[in-house]
């Protein structure tokens, strides 16, 4: 390394870490894969931290929790979670998770992916899983851009923003994810930012214990691409913006929760309703039609140790 380019003072550890100190989230991560690939100031790691806290709080048997991701920066979450984890194809985390859940209903299946993955290439799967009320917990880290590929326009990118593929500014209207989720039938819809770590952890814990299609949008900074290109500063500046612009409005009408480049961010839990989920509906219909002839699904062909 070239010594001239490194400011050694930044490498100093400011506080002595006692040797017996334990990072409470370590058991939930594949520490043999660290360091992760996310940039300084990126919010994805923050959401993973919240997720691990939610797992602790939920009291779930972690052998029965699976994480499914698509492709992109957030798509890498599955690879760092010390759980049964699947890094699938672009946009297809939800249909993969659908098969996983239906073949092994005792699993809690969490879909953890980004806005481009879930709402552009995967948009069709999202609305259909919500319509069916498939028992999946979908966490969307929304950084308003395609970050992994270099900061192109996403269906969530707000108007006027400059991106790699909108060098003169975005003019397409963006999706309002929470309104879309509610309209498609989600049982639970919330939005937080990576500034709202407590609320986000609580929401994640809540959905881990709620049946049906649950959706949490997390606004998350992308300093490397989205902010740099738009002169929006560093990760910390995004935090300041989230703090200043966010308004907690639980139960707000999702149709009034559009996002813009630098306007108000309505956060909170917007929808929490009970609808019978896909598996319950399936079984109820079959029992109604077939009576005793209906055989409860035993989809798995194998038990461990057989």
């Amino acid at each position: 390394m070239n010594d001239v380019l490194i400011d050694k003072s930044t490498l100093e550890v400011p506080v002595e870490i006692p040797p017996e100190a334990v990072n409470p989230v370590e058991p939930f991560l594949r520490m043999d894969r660290m360091p992760h690939i996310w940039c300084p100031g990126c919010g994805i790691g923050t959401t993973v931290n919240c997720f691990t806290r939610a797992l602790i709080g939920s009291g779930k048997n972690l052998d029965k929790v699976a994480v499914v991701s698509g492709i992109g920066c957030t798509g890498r979450v599955a690879g760092y979670a010390q759980l049964d984890s699947f890094h699938t194809t672009h946009g297809r985390a939800i249909p993969f998770a659908t098969g996983l859940k239906l073949s092994n209903p005792e699993l809690d299946v969490v879909v953890y992916s980004g806005d481009g993955d879930l709402f552009a290439i995967g948009g069709n799967h999202f609305i259909h899983a919500a319509r069916r009320n498939m028992d999946l917990k979908v966490i969307c880290v929304n950084n308003l851009t395609y970050a992994m590929t270099g900061g192109q326009t996403a269906p969530t990118t707000p108007g006027k923003v400059i991106s790699a593929t909108s060098p003169y500014g975005v003019f397409e209207p963006a999706f309002n994810l929470v309104a879309l989720a509610e309209a498609a039938g989600a049982a639970y819809v919330a939005r937080w930012t990576t500034y709202h770590v407590k609320q986000l952890s609580r929401s994640m814990e809540e959905v881990l214990n709620k049946k049906g299609f649950c959706f949490i949008e997390v606004l998350s900074p992308c300093p490397t691409l989205y902010q740099r290109r738009n002169k929006m500063g560093e990760g910390l500046d995004a935090m300041k913006y989230y703090k200043q612009a966010s308004k907690v409005r639980n139960g707000a009408r999702t149709s009034e929760c559009d996002l813009s480049r630098d306007g108000e961010i309505v956060v909170g839990k917007f929808v929490d309703r009970d609808r019978p989920d896909y598996y319950d509906l399936l079984q109820a219909q079959m029992r109604e039609t077939l009576g005793d002839r209906y055989a409860t699904p035993e989809v798995s062909c194998c038990e461990a140790g057989e």
């Binding site: 594949r30 043999d32 894969r33 972690l62 052998d63 029965k64 699976a66 499914v68 599955a78 690879g79 010390q82 759980l83 049964d84 984890s85 699947f86 890094h87 699938t88 194809t89 946009g91 297809r92 939800i94 249909p95 993969f96 998770a97 659908t98 098969g99 996983l100 859940k101 239906l102 073949s103 092994n104 005792e106 699993l107 069709n124 799967h125 259909h128 399936l282 079959m286 077939l290 002839r293 209906y294 055989a295 409860t296 699904p297 035993e298 989809v299 798995s300 062909c301 194998c302 038990e303 461990a304 140790g305 057989e306």
Partner: protein, 385 residues
């Protein structure tokens, strides 16, 4: 192990190929199917949707073929034997997940009831023009298995075989029907469950701490686990090491991708499935598969009646291509005649296997009907001259 009796409709039936294929999936132990409607294949999952609630499983109609072809893979990692069904346009969409199944070594079955293409083509009429797509349709290097039944009975039998091979080799298996075979109704005998051999999933016996998800065993195929059993494993379509972790370097890529192809070698050689007849004295060998093999059968009869020494080589396992068997034949025959319902696909494989030792004559047909036996006969007679 043997088939579970619950799924086996033992008896003598009068079934079309699509329905027989469905009974094959149930006998093979499939308890999960995801589909999307498309002619002329839908009858397979229609019957599955009708049968599965009393057998004990799940059918889900997905929003498109992309979803259907990945939902089955989620189901497999959840512990199921699973399949999807489609035809040309849907098969094109599924290519993304043929690659995912190959890369993640997910055992699963794709049924393709072929129709005329390209694009929407001939929805209700036959072709065999997806043979190269079955082999090469997804990007990158990988291997798959493809089987070509030529009767409803074989639709049943080879579906069971297909599931068994997919479990043994951990690859996607394609059942390459065509519209004629799918919609042809014939006698189908379904044996008793204890007469049907089933290959179980190759679940590891190792404890989670010792287990590595992509550690090849003696046959180059890794053992498997399912979600929920405490293994805390990771599956990715990225190039990965034996732990399943992404490892994007030249060495891992080479090791992984070569193994994905090489593990299937036994099927290209000694274990290739084919049906032969009158090869002992044959001067001309007709190489065919699927519905075309039944037309070729008539042409072969007519040729023998004229005194032409013609023999039959019916390809059953089309991929990996049975190159060894054909190469052995090549030295002692004059010519190979290759009729296909396409403008020449498997004929290129025949040429490669024969390697110039004999003439190779394609008999092409763009699809929409079957060949006339006379067209194949003419090629045989000319080849024998």
């Amino acid at each position: 192990m043997h088939a579970e009796p619950k799924g086996v409709l033992t008896g003598v039936h009068f079934l079309d190929g699509d329905h027989a294929c469905c009974e094959g999936t149930l006998a093979a132990g499939a308890r999960f199917a995801a589909g999307y409607p498309i002619t002329p294949s839908t009858e397979v999952v229609e019957r599955f949707a009708w049968r599965i609630p009393t057998v004990g499983g799940v059918f889900i109609q997905m929003e498109d073929e992309l979803a259907a072809s990945i939902a089955i893979q989620g189901a497999v990692w959840g512990g199921a034997k699973a399949f999807t069904v489609t035809s040309g346009p849907g098969f094109s969409l599924m290519m993304e997940h043929v690659g995912y199944a190959a890369m993640t070594e997910t055992p699963c079955v794709f049924v393709n009831v072929q129709r005329g293409g390209p694009s929407t083509g001939l929805p209700t009429l036959p072709a065999q023009a997806d043979m190269m797509q079955a082999r090469w349709g997804s990007h990158g290097d990988y291997g798959i298995i493809a089987l070509c039944p030529n009767s409803p009975q074989e639709c049943f039998d080879l579906t069971v075989t297909g599931f068994n091979l997919s479990e043994e080799f951990r690859v996607p298996v394609m059942l390459m029907l065509d519209e004629c075979i799918g919609h042809m109704t014939e006698k189908v005998v379904i044996p008793e469950a204890d007469k049907i051999e089933i290959t179980p999933r190759r679940l590891t016996k190792l404890a989670p701490k010792e287990f590595r998800l992509f550690q090849p065993q003696g046959d180059m195929v890794p053992d498997m686990v399912k979600a929920g059993d405490g293994y805390r494993f990771h599956v990715t379509g990225l190039t990965h090491d034996e732990r399943g972790y992404p490892s994007m370097n030249v060495e891992t890529q080479d090791r992984t991708v070569r193994r994905l192809q090489e593990k299937l070698k036994p099927l290209a050689n000694g274990r290739a499935l084919c049906e032969t007849e009158n090869l002992e004295d044959a001067e001309v060998v007709v190489v065919s598969y699927g519905i075309t093999s039944r037309v070729a059968q008539r042409a072969l009869q007519l040729a023998r009646a004229q005194g032409v020494k013609a023999g039959k080589f019916r390809i059953i396992s089309a991929w990996p291509f049975p190159e060894q068997r054909l190469r052995e034949l090549a030295g002692r025959v004059k010519a190979f005649v290759v009729p296909e319902l396409n403008l020449g696909q498997m004929v290129h494989e025949v040429k490669a296997a024969v390697a110039g030792q004999a003439k190779v004559i394609p008999v092409t047909h763009a699809g929409g009907s079957v060949h006339k036996p006379e067209a194949i006969l003419q090629a045989i007679v000319e080849a024998a001259r």
